[in-house]
């Protein structure tokens, strides 16, 4: 069978590693480490740079299609050159710094933002052999690296000397304070069950299949599904995407922290937003969707990085789909949602995961009990908290005269 | 100069800078930040001793610092809450003017 011949360590699977080794093999021994790291950095920059470019196009095209219009289709075949046209435009536009702005911070903000949002990619395992840095504390590193993004948004908002931007800066801070906690807490169950902070080990813990086609991904457990949902909601907020795009609310604050940015700095903000989105989606794939693992034993011959990319793209599509549909929350509602809904749910989910890992030995009918309890621990709080959260707001019936 | 001495000197310098900030500036937030710096200097010492001094238990220094960071976070949270309460009360943050415990 060809599939069997290709698994698990086929040529395709090893191709990127082989390519790297070929290049570093040309250099003297002492340079290997540096060259290897540089190659990895270049690969991540190029890969995600290209992904960013085409993600902007995909977002516009998908939004267009959802809105019954074609989206950009003039530059190149099907508009495929649009991202480059945008890039050229951004580069050639005048860079305006408002009078009275804090010039240094105004300049630093987009740079810091992009730099920081790139850091997270270092520990994502893109494939069986593809992880830039093997860290024992990878998950902690990932979230530590991501914390500075809102700091950069704050810097941009504050340095712009614009009232809308200042409001955006306040919103960014409030949003971060509210959403960092559920984001981290929704990850903790995975760490608890997998017993490690290392991303590669977390992916390894999700390997294998029941019956050959039900993968042992965390998302297929009750706590994992809940954790995945909570993580994605918090990730939406963390990456300032609709419906949590409050700092950038274009219908209220025009573009919030971006109001006073133009040209390439503006493009950098977008780049950082998409990088953040990709990094968080990649983390979600790693933590809940089995990372680079194939969904079925029969499909394992497809290289692992292809699976990772496919899962990543599906999540990114979800981001775009949600953006096309939902209105924006208000700041106080956002905080209420975080503190009164997400945080309790993540805490309960933590307990749920703990119970799940304690009852790992249960079999037979006890297994059913285990599932029932875990499911009810997800569903009941969701319904109850959801009801209290949306208390007083419901579709109304109207009287007629 | 051994690495340990270097680290301890750095820590001492950082502590002094924190002290100077806490003593010289009158803004309550800055004073708090100075104290934070001093705490950081102490943490630096723990790690320095853990790394460059033999005889310590393998994880003690690290765990000490973790506790210190947690306590520092709590301290900062309470401190900043106090700052906000102070601001509500006297409409500025000058510590020299905060001379009464009762409003």
């Amino acid at each position: 069978m060809i599939a069997a011949a290709l698994t698990p360590d086929s040529f395709l699977e090893r191709l990127p590693v082989l390519a790297r080794d070929t290049v570093t093999g040309l250099l003297p021994e002492s340079w290997c480490w540096l060259a290897g790291s540089l190659l990895e950095i270049i690969a991540i920059l190029a890969g995600f740079g290209l992904l960013f470019a085409y993600l902007t196009l995909a977002e516009r095209k998908i939004l267009g299609r959802i809105q019954n219009r074609p989206g950009p289709n003039r530059t190149g075949w099907f508009g495929l050159l649009q991202p480059f046209a945008d890039g050229v435009k951004a580069l050639t536009k005048e860079d305006v710094v408002p009078a009275g702005a804090d010039r240094v911070l105004h300049f630093l903000a987009p740079v810091v933002l992009v730099a920081v949002s790139l850091l997270g990619f270092a520990v994502l395992p893109f494939g069986r052999h593809l992880v830039a840095v093997e860290l024992d504390t990878a998950v902690l590193y990932f979230f530590a690296a991501g914390t500075a993004t809102e700091l950069a948004v704050f810097m941009a908002g504050w340095a712009s000397h614009n009232k809308y931007s200042l409001l955006a800066a306040m919103r960014a801070l409030a949003q971060l304070i509210s959403y960092e906690l559920p984001l981290l807490l929704s990850v903790v169950p995975v760490v608890l069950v997998a017993g490690t902070l290392s991303t590669t080990k977390i992916v390894a813990a999700q390997g294998g299949w029941s019956l050959g086609f039900v993968p042992h991904w965390h998302v297929f457990t009750p706590w994992g599904a809940a954790g995945f949902g909570l993580f994605m909601v918090a990730a939406l907020a963390e990456s300032n995407r609709s419906p949590f795009d409050l700092p950038e609310a274009e219908s209220e604050l025009i573009a919030g922290h971006l109001t006073e940015y133009s040209g390439f700095k503006y493009a950098l903000f977008f780049m950082a937003e998409y990088f953040g989105m990709c990094a968080l989606s990649g983390m979600a794939v790693t933590l809940f969707l089995g990372g680079w693992g194939a969904p079925s034993a029969l499909l394992e011959w497809i290289p692992s990085y292809a699976w990772f990319t496919a899962k990543l793209l599906v999540l990114l599509l979800g981001f775009i789909w949600i953006r096309a549909t939902l209105p924006r929350l208000r700041l106080d509602q956002l905080m209420k949602f975080a503190w009164k809904f997400l945080v309790p749910l993540t805490l309960l989910n933590l307990a749920n995961a703990a119970g799940w890992s304690l009852t790992a030995g249960w079999t037979g009918p006890l297994q059913l009990v285990r599932w029932a309890v875990a499911l009810s621990l997800v569903a009941v709080p969701f319904v109850v908290l959801g009801r209290t959260l949306s208390a007083g707001s419901a579709p109304r019936t109207y009287r007629f005269a | 100069m051994s690495p340990l001495q270097g680290c301890l000197l750095l820590s001492a310098a950082l502590f002094s800078v924190g002290l100077v900030i806490a003593l010289a500036r009158s803004n309550a937030i800055l004073v708090l930040l100075g104290i934070e710096l001093m705490l950081n200097a102490a943490n630096l010492n723990f790690i320095a001793f853990w790394r460059f001094h033999s005889g310590a238990a393998p994880a003690t220094g690290v765990i000490f610092v973790l506790f210190a960071i947690a306590v520092a976070a709590a301290e900062a949270a309470v401190g900043l809450a106090l700052v906000i309460a102070l601001y509500r009360h006297q409409k500025n943050l000058r510590l020299q003017e905060a001379t009464r415990l009762r409003g």
Partner: protein
């Protein structure tokens, strides 16, 4: 701040709560005149405490072209195309209101067929306006254009109808004193009938998209509450007034045109908040569809213009008249004073958006910037009409 007579309860006037103890840490933001959510060139000078609005002063007039002065220097007929440009979404109802005022001033009768056609066009205009408003309001709530594009997709179909009838999509210039300019053909009526049949499913889709959306409910319910008493006292009309629960619709109250012949209901709100204003408009669209069906069924044959009506050299006798109809945004009225000459001596537009704006500050106080945007959106203003 001005000493406000609103604070005197002995006059029975409606008190506007003005905070006099403004604390120090306030920020004044000038929202507009170029702000994406002010629906044109409109400006709100907002004083914020954090993000909470403690004072809001609307500023407008950026589009002021002294429409009324123009009309005083133009013949009665010549003002008709200018009325298109007042509320540029609703040129048909503007035309009708003006035609009605002139008809009252000069005592011109309108043939029955023309009355039916006017009702058809007015209800199509109502559909158009409310669809647009729903789209704009959702856009203000932060939807990335999707509801707006759906609304515009349907609006285009109505505009196509207007175009093939009157020759222009928005600046229709269709009504005349004593009738309508062109008689709609059977083909046109068939197309309009088909549009009406297809509109119900579109409304269902639109409602499925957002009406039950939890975020929208949270954003709009309880926001910008308007009391019935204040609404009446402040001259608020149209869906905004009915959202507060006041049963007042000129189609029923005045019974102008042939409206008394149709069966339709008036949806009434209860809370007077943004959600009610939005839903009243959605429900009104469904009632409009019912009116349209009846109008198509009952459309009589006959002339479309009163043969006695003059186009050129129209000089009404000395006198004055105030004619009003229920426009999609509220009561649109024209006050005409004639001195017997070819031009009106005084021509005044009672613009519903303009008067509905009176209570903007009352609605926004205590809410946040984000709410101010959707409250303004729910008032449904068109600056062409506000500034005139």
């Amino acid at each position: 701040m001005n000493a406000s007579p609103f604070t005197n309860p002995s006059t029975g006037a409606h008190v506007r709560s003005v905070r006099s103890d403004l604390p120090g840490d306030l920020m004044e933001v000038s929202m507009g005149p170029h702000h994406p959510s002010t629906h044109g060139v409109f400006r709100m000078i907002v004083t914020l405490d954090g993000e909470t609005i403690v004072r809001l002063k609307p500023v407008f007039g950026y589009l002021h072209r002294n429409h009324e002065k123009l009309a005083e220097n133009t013949s009665y007929l010549g003002s008709m195309p200018y009325t298109d440009r007042l509320d540029y979404l609703n040129s048909m109802t503007n035309n009708w209101a003006y035609a009605r005022a002139v008809e009252q001033l000069a005592g011109i009768a309108v043939p029955e067929r023309a009355e039916y056609v006017r009702v058809i066009l007015a209800e199509l205009t109502r559909l158009l306006n409310h669809t647009c408003l729903a789209g704009f309001l959702m856009q203000d709530c932060g939807c990335s254009g999707t509801p707006l594009m759906y609304a515009f997709r349907e609006r285009e179909k109505i505009l196509d109808l207007f175009e093939s009838l009157s020759g222009s999509r928005m600046m229709c210039n269709y009504q005349r004193f004593g009738g309508c300019r062109v008689d709609p053909s059977a083909d046109w009526l068939a197309r309009a009938r088909q549009l009406v049949e297809e509109y119900g499913p579109f409304l269902d889709e639109f409602e499925a998209l957002l009406t039950g959306n939890e975020i929208l409910l949270a954003r709009t319910q309880g926001v910008g509450r308007l009391s019935a008493a204040l609404a009446i006292n402040a001259g608020v009309t149209g869906p905004m007034l009915r959202a507060t629960g006041v049963n007042h619709d000129l189609r029923k109250v005045d019974g102008y045109g042939v409206y008394p012949r149709f069966q339709f209901r008036i949806p009434l709100g209860e809370h007077g908040d943004v959600y009610d204003r939005y839903m009243i408009r959605i429900l009104e669209m469904r009632e409009s569809l019912a009116i349209l069906r009846q109008a198509f069924a009952g459309l009589p044959a006959g002339p479309i213009m009163n043969p006695a009506a003059k186009l050129r050299g129209f000089r009404p006798k000395v006198g004055e008249a105030y004619g009003r109809i229920e426009g999609p945004k509220g009561e649109i009225g024209f006050h005409l004073v004639s001195d017997g000459g070819p031009n009106p001596w005084r021509y005044h537009v009672r613009a519903p958006s303009f008067i509905n704006l009176t209570i903007l500050e009352d609605l926004c106080l205590g809410h946040t910037v984000a709410d101010a945007v959707i409250i303004l959106g729910s008032i449904d203003i068109v600056l062409g009409e506000v500034d005139r």
